[in-house]
């Protein structure tokens, strides 16, 4: 049965990423850097209005402009444009400037319609309809036990409304691709994507050809966070333009404004919550009415209740449509919202009871919270794990010495506070992925799969596993991914890449090793069973006998190539984690500074400690951004986004970063579960922990994220009755 090595040399160590050299020298070619001979530049014309119909569109003048080679109209006469940023047309020209000039020369006559761009605008009875059938779709409440009755009997009840705004992905490399069509039968595309196979399928679909005739290449790419799974309308149009322009490559990448407007966002979330408990802090019931907007696309639902044991609960969610760009998956979809609302309400309850926030959390973990163990059918209880994580985290933040009850953080203007939050995530693997491993007579080793490295370290992890099995160094392995024509590989999303790709990689390398032993044993006058590999040597009966390179020469002309498949017992699903935050709040200016974050995370067996740690740091900073800065601001009057850039859309910089302590919760029991993904979980609890720390510091809940000066000062004013 497949198993991870008991005493690994490489797995679990810190290995720098293999593509780091190319990236640090500026030589790495990102999809937005690739410019094949003859490339034309595509520029998108998009809607300046939140809601409009195209009365007429005239491209005649634009077609005649210098350098223009082709124009494709996406939204022709009579088409509805439902948000600012909605695509209208794409121009391909010899230079970017020429394409921009031509875009400006396209004449569009709009019938501008009334819009609603905020939830409150949209929920108004007289609001214009975003789609026929109403702006608010309310789902029936999901009820467990008898929440109303239980709440009546609760010793203490808190009631509050908490809300998180829409935020956008802000990948540093914009969305886009360069497409080159060979007639109508073949396409090559260099795409900034999280899923080469999905993009290939989409382009194949739009040309009505087989995905095998499409090659999508993503050697490296500049971030996706859930927003870059498809070719998108602009990518499909680039391919169409390439065909129209006689096969010249066409490059279409969005500008930063359209990134914010049209390339995805995380839905907003508002929750009106009643939470009740008995005197000892044991939760008895929760009733929550929530809503959120995913713009024109929906998808605003999120998990609630979250993490904690509630025998009685009722939850009703309403999906609100607005005239704004559609939501896309964003790093742990739904979880940061559910976590923030649950953890805020629980913290408010603890404050009302005068209970310690860590204690109330331990008290409300389910007795049994089983997730999958190492093999099908095995389980593991997450509750003792959460308890151990909370204990460790509390020690590292200095909870015992520093924690003071809410509002008792001194008389000074600047107040310190501590907060904590728990999270959970899946992160399991898909069972239908493959990796091939080839050993060549010159000693080189290549692995291939149609997955990609979006900055996570996937390429390095596959090389480490192969090197582990073959007794080589990770740098000896050519880890060839980011090509849709390779054996089927996993999309980079849902923290599923490593658990999907590691098992077939181990299988491929193990099979290749077995085939290699069979081939070279006769040349070494021995049996295959006597052979092993270590330190770049072939060992016979435990003695180093021949270098790897010399042994490979014995393969003659024929390479060995094996394809590995998924096997049970090497990866698992279901993680928890906890984070603590320490903040300082200036009660005069409302400015929050995070001083320290502690992040404890389990994720089964860790392959590369270095890239694992990087993922957790990055997740925490994502969470800090959601906690303190990020917010899409829409103007109800004009219907446009007021901050579609990287200046007024705030993101943390190097000087906003606190001390961050990252710890892996990696016990033997955890290691035995096999590989689990870590991209998403560490970004969930940060914004919740920060908000709880702010409430602890200033003595009043700031119910609206982000913890910006405006929201903090509003909360302080309401406390003093000035709101």
């Amino acid at each position: 049965m497949a198993a991870w090595p008991k005493e690994p040399r490489l797995i679990g160590t810190k290995v720098p990423r293999l593509d780091g050299l190319a990236k640090a020298s500026g030589k790495a070619k990102y999809p937005s850097d690739v410019r094949p001979e003859g490339t034309l530049f595509g520029v998108v014309l998009y809607s300046p209005h939140a809601n409009a119909t195209v009365k007429s569109i005239d491209t005649a003048a634009a077609e005649k402009m210098p350098g223009v080679k082709g124009i494709v109209v996406i939204a022709g006469q009579g088409k509805k444009l439902r948000f600012q940023g909605d695509d209208i047309a794409i121009v391909a020209a010899e230079t970017e400037e020429q394409a921009r000039d031509a875009v400006r020369a396209i004449k569009v006559d709009y019938e501008v319609l009334p819009h609603c761009v905020t939830e409150s605008q949209s929920m108004d009875e007289k609001a214009p309809q975003v789609f026929d059938g109403g702006n608010v779709r309310k789902a029936r409440a999901i009820v467990k036990g008898k929440p109303e009755e239980a709440l009546e009997k609760a010793d203490v009840v808190v009631e509050g409304t908490y809300s998180l705004p829409v935020i956008t992905h802000v990948c540093l490399e914009p969305h886009g691709l360069t497409a080159q069509a060979e007639g109508s039968s073949k396409i090559t595309a260099w795409a900034s994507t999280q899923a080469v196979t999905v993009v290939a399928g989409e382009l194949a679909g739009s040309f009505n050809i087989s995905p095998a005739d499409v090659t999508v290449l993503t050697e490296v790419m500049g971030g996706g966070f859930g927003s870059k799974f498809g070719a998108d309308i602009w990518g499909r149009t680039a391919a169409e333009l390439s065909k129209k322009c006689g096969g010249r490559p066409v490059k279409v990448f969005l500008d930063r404004a359209q990134e914010h407007l049209a390339a995805g966002n995380r839905p907003s979330a508002t929750g009106h919550v009643k939470l009740g408990a008995s005197k000892d802090g044991k939760l008895v019931a929760m009733i929550a009415e929530t809503y959120g907007t995913g713009g024109v696309r929906g998808g605003s639902n999120f998990p609630l209740p979250y993490v904690y044991d509630l025998k009685n609960s009722s939850r009703a969610h309403a999906e609100v449509s607005v005239n704004a760009g559609g939501a896309r998956a964003m790093r742990a979809p739904g979880h940061p919202q559910g976590c923030a609302i649950m953890e805020a309400a629980l913290d408010d309850l603890a404050a009302k009871l005068g209970m310690d926030p860590v204690e109330i959390r331990v008290k409300n973990l389910a007795e049994v919270d089983n997730v999958r163990g190492g093999r099908q059918g095995e389980t593991i209880n997450r509750t003792p794990m959460y308890e151990a994580q909370l204990k460790l985290g509390a020690e590292l933040i200095g909870w015992r010495d520093k924690y003071k009850p809410r509002g008792e953080n001194g008389k000074g203007v600047v107040k310190r506070g501590l907060g904590v939050a728990l999270h959970q995530w899946g992160g399991g693997g898909a069972a239908d992925k493959q990796v091939s491993c080839t050993i060549n007579p010159d000693g080189s080793v290549e692995i291939k799969s149609a997955t990609q490295d979006i900055g996570t370290g996937a390429r390095t992890i596959l090389a480490m596993i192969t090197a582990e099995v073959l007794g080589l160094k990770p740098t000896d392995i050519k880890s060839n991914i980011g090509n849709s024509t390779f054996p089927p590989g996993q999309s980079s999303g849902g923290s599923t890449t490593t658990p999907s790709m590691s098992p077939p990689c181990l299988a491929a390398a193990t099979q290749a090793r077995a085939a290699f032993f069979n081939k070279i044993a006769p040349a070494l006058s021995t049996d295959a069973e006597t052979l092993s590999l270590k330190d770049g040597q072939v060992w016979v009966n435990g003695e180093p006998t021949m270098s790897w390179k010399d042994a490979c020469r014995k393969l003659g002309m024929a390479s060995i190539s094996e394809t590995g498949k998924f096997a049970d017992g090497l990866s698992s699903v279901g993680v928890g984690g906890c984070q603590f935050a320490e903040v300082e709040v200036d009660t005069e200016t409302g400015v929050v500074r995070v001083k320290k974050i502690v992040a404890i995370q389990d994720s089964g067996l860790i392959i590369d400690k270095l890239t694992w740690e990087s993922q957790v740091y990055g997740g925490v900073i994502g969470g800090l951004n959601y906690g303190l800065f990020e917010e899409r601001v829409m103007d109800p009057t004009t219907g446009v986004m007021l901050n579609p850039d990287m200046e007024l859309y705030k993101l943390a910089g190097a000087s906003d970063i606190p001390e961050i302590i990252v710890r892996a919760y990696e016990t033997e029991e955890m290691k035995n579960r096999g590989v689990i993904g870590v991209g998403e979980p560490p970004t969930i609890a940060t914004a919740a922990a920060i908000a709880n720390a702010v409430a602890n510091a200033i003595g009043v809940r700031v119910p609206d994220w982000p913890m910006s000066p405006r929201n903090v000062l509003n909360a302080l004013a309401s406390k003093e009755g000035k709101a």
Partner: protein, 159 residues
């Protein structure tokens, strides 16, 4: 079409001449005319730092510098940091210290850090954070970037 303008300059120590339109940015000319794609376009608006290059030793956002402004100037890009195939200590420390993930922001950080260390070989942590504040990164969380610059400063001191 507007008339092209002739510009002569030095890029990474070599004299370079190019023809550009008056409205073209330095970033665009580097990437499109000179095929130096190390500097990246993150925002094209002066806000993210991904396009940072050195102009006469000073770090600038090349997306908001007009190409015609660099007549006679010395430009240094990320491609010029490594010397005869040897990584600059800043590059080495970024690589070994895992200070990069997707890496699109990395060239901007490297150039900004180089400019800082050229001027101030012994910066405090605060100096580093302050000087890197114009460079945004969505992946790493900055911590390892700051540590990498500190490590590079230490290594350069021992030379």
């Amino acid at each position: 079409m507007s008339k092209k303008i002739h510009v002569s300059t030095t890029v990474n120590g070599e004299s370079v001449e190019f023809l550009c339109e008056a409205r073209q940015s330095l970033l665009e000319v580097l990437r499109e005319n000179l095929s130096l794609t190390g500097a990246k376009e993150g925002c094209n608006n002066g806000n993210c730092g991904a396009c940072t290059v050195m102009l006469n030793g000073v770090p600038v956002n090349s997306c908001i510098v007009l190409a015609v402004e660099v007549e006679g100037a010395a430009i240094e890009t990320v491609e010029g940091l490594a010397c005869h195939g040897h990584l600059h200590p800043i590059q080495k420390c970024f690589l070994e210290g895992a200070a990069l993930q997707c890496g699109v922001c990395t060239p901007g950080f490297l150039v900004t850090a180089k400019a800082l260390l050229d001027k101030n070989p012994n910066p405090s942590e605060h100096d580093i954070r302050f000087n890197l504040a114009n460079n945004l990164c969505r992946c790493t969380g900055y911590d390892k970037i700051v540590k990498a610059v500190q490590a590079a400063a230490a290594e350069l001191q021992t030379r």
